[in-house]
């Protein structure tokens, strides 16, 4: 992946005249924005550090899991676009249902962020991937920020980010956020992903159980027929098969499909989650 430097704000070898990637930290000024970015990830992987690096806010950073419980909001501007950035609670999975996992899940589903940055721990890649894969089932507008590369280097662990990007089919940015490494590359990937017009393209998990696979496909096809091109029809089908109350309610309220129509529901879901 090409790196743009934050200092010059210019991309040297790019002929297509792309916008400068200078970062403007907007702190808590989030009233007007062009796009919404969400920050998800396992606890204690440096989400708050990245949040602070992008927004210039000073959310408390501490070395322990479960420190950020409430949703934090900030803003930044890059590539001529103002982003509202939402720091979701750290979770290991979206499959169980503690309140903080529900906040994260409902926001990804109903808030429809333009980009979701999933922060991962290079020392514990496999565990980070559990969450990445689950989020990819909900939205494919994902950037995987592989943080704590400095710790991995110290442990002499090498990670092939290109191989990862190929396997996940989303941009992967290697970072050491505490040292500011990778921030400009992350910005580049975020604005690129926000700009791109997506149709579902990420690799999906398929299930060995034939009956399950068939049930998922049948339901997903019907969901697509009713709600238009859903990026997450298979995921919603699975939740319906599991009998998830929130999702059943959303289907009943007809609030899955059209852009942003679910926003009032997001508010409801978030208010409830609080």
């Amino acid at each position: 992946m090409k790196a743009f430097t934050a200092e010059t704000g210019k991309c040297g070898d790019c002929a297509s005249g792309c916008a400068p990637k200078r970062l403007t930290k907007l702190g808590a000024r989030v009233r007007k924005f062009d796009a919404v970015a969400a920050l998800a990830g396992n606890p204690n992987t440096g989400k708050s550090t990245i949040f602070n690096a992008l927004t210039g806010l000073r959310q408390h950073v501490g070395n322990w899991a479960g420190k950020t419980v409430a949703r934090a909001e900030g803003a930044f501007e890059t590539g001529g676009k103002k982003f509202k950035l939402i720091d979701l609670p750290g979770t290991y999975s979206l499959l169980s249902t503690s309140p903080d996992e529900e906040i994260a899940r409902d926001f990804l589903l109903f808030g429809k962020p333009d980009v979701t940055v999933v922060v991962g721990d290079a020392m514990r890649l496999e565990r980070s991937l559990h969450l990445v894969l689950q989020i990819l089932e909900i939205t494919t507008r994902v950037v995987f920020a592989l943080n704590l590369m400095d710790e991995a280097r110290r442990a002499r662990i090498r990670i092939d980010a290109r191989q990862l990007a190929r396997d996940l089919n989303v941009p992967v940015v290697a970072m050491a956020a505490r040292r500011g490494e990778g921030v400009s590359e992350l910005l580049e990937a975020v604005s690129e992903t926000a700009r791109r017009d997506f149709s579902a393209s990420a690799r999906r998990i398929s299930y060995a159980d034939k009956e399950l696979e068939n049930a998922v496909e049948t339901l997903a096809a019907n969901l697509r027929a009713n709600f238009g091109e859903l990026p997450n029809a298979r995921w919603i089908a699975l939740r319906l098969l599991e009998g998830d109350e929130n999702i059943i309610r959303a289907v009943r309220a007809n609030s899955l499909g059209a852009e942003k129509s679910g926003s009032h529901l997001t508010q409801l879901a978030l208010a409830e989650a609080r």
Partner: protein, 472 residues
Amino acid sequence: MTNENILEQAAALRGALKPNLHDELTAAVYARASDIAARAVHRPEGESEPESGFDQRLDRVLTSRVWGFPLMVLLLTAVLWLTIAGANVPSALLADFLQGTVYNALHGAAQAAGAPRWLEGFLIDGVYLATAWVVSVMLPPMAIFFPLFTLLEDFGYLPRVAFNLDRLFKKFGAHGKQSLTMMMGYGCNAAGVVSTRIIDSPRERLIAIITNNFSVCNGRFPTLILVGTIFIAAAAPPFLAGFIAALSVVAITILGVFFTLLVSAGLSRTVLKGEASNFSLELPPYRPPQIWQTLYRSVIERTLVVLRRAVLMAAPAGAVIWLVSNVYVGGESAAAQIIAFLNPFGVLIGLNGVILLAYLVAIPANEIVVPTILMLTLNLLAPGAAQNGVMIELEDAKIQELLTGVGGWTLLTGVNLMLFSLLHNPCSTTVLTIWQETRSLKWTAVAALLPVALGVAVCLLTATAARLAGWI
């Protein structure tokens, strides 16, 4: 097909599927993740475990059943001792400057400008003096305590403390995660209450909310440190003074943990009955703290934020104190009447009317308890002293002189003030947060009043014991 049809179809298909659907989904995700990770990660030859040996060895000591608790007490004592020993000189210098030089200059300027006597008193002896006291009493200890505490936190020590306490919490019928929310409470109780969202079970969450107040917060540490220094340490030989002061604050902190467990056990066996749920507590890797960033963060942000809040509260409080001390109703100032009303009860529980009024004034912010006590004592019991510039530059020794000489304080008053500082109602911000989190008037009231009741009971107990033993 309508949406309702889809839901019916889903329900029908659900019946035909295996019952362990959830497990199967999880297994599929795990298999895929392991597959991808295996292709991307290259470990050095011969190493397969990512954990470094150092972390494990350190954890074996810090979370050991034998050494875990003594090391916790030792570290806390060391941090507090450094705070107390280090804050002495800058505190005195600040007091000298703010309550001496600046205070006199302000009075001089006011007189030169011909300001009316009441305005001069209101602004300088009320608003300014309260603010200056908050700064000189609180700034130095905070500027030392917060960075030290933050360094420990950055290093990754707090989760180890939580790990040590986890066993205890389970034994007392509370959620192990409560040890984490309790640690948050040491920063700020309101933040601690919000952090209880990580606890899934409503029953255990309520217990964690109600007991969070027993974590001594940032606003209360300076009070404890000051009272520990001027009363408890005064009873010890000088070379031990700082150490004894630190120990007294550690003792109060441990007593707070004790009450957390006691109240948790009481609640989980009576009104909030239930089994303790299990969870696995994560021990993050130790990380070298970023010294400069930590210093900057904790001094500039944490310290100044707390100080700002204290000053914002102290200025109006100073104005109120000056007014109630100078508004006369039937020949006596309003403050004197309130204090006279509260005093019998205060003395009964080993405190006094001034302290109780100070706690009423300080409901918005615990930070201003000591400055309020000092102002009330000065204004009421030594009238004219402030105006004459006597005993305004309050260093530790002079504060003790004022409180024992003029206020009639004893060692018991000091001890009980420390106890009451641990056991009293949460500040108004925390109470509001509790209401927002529980949406229940009943539980908010319990969380607000239970600690006061405990505080009164404990203080009554020590006061009675002291009287029976003939100490006072």
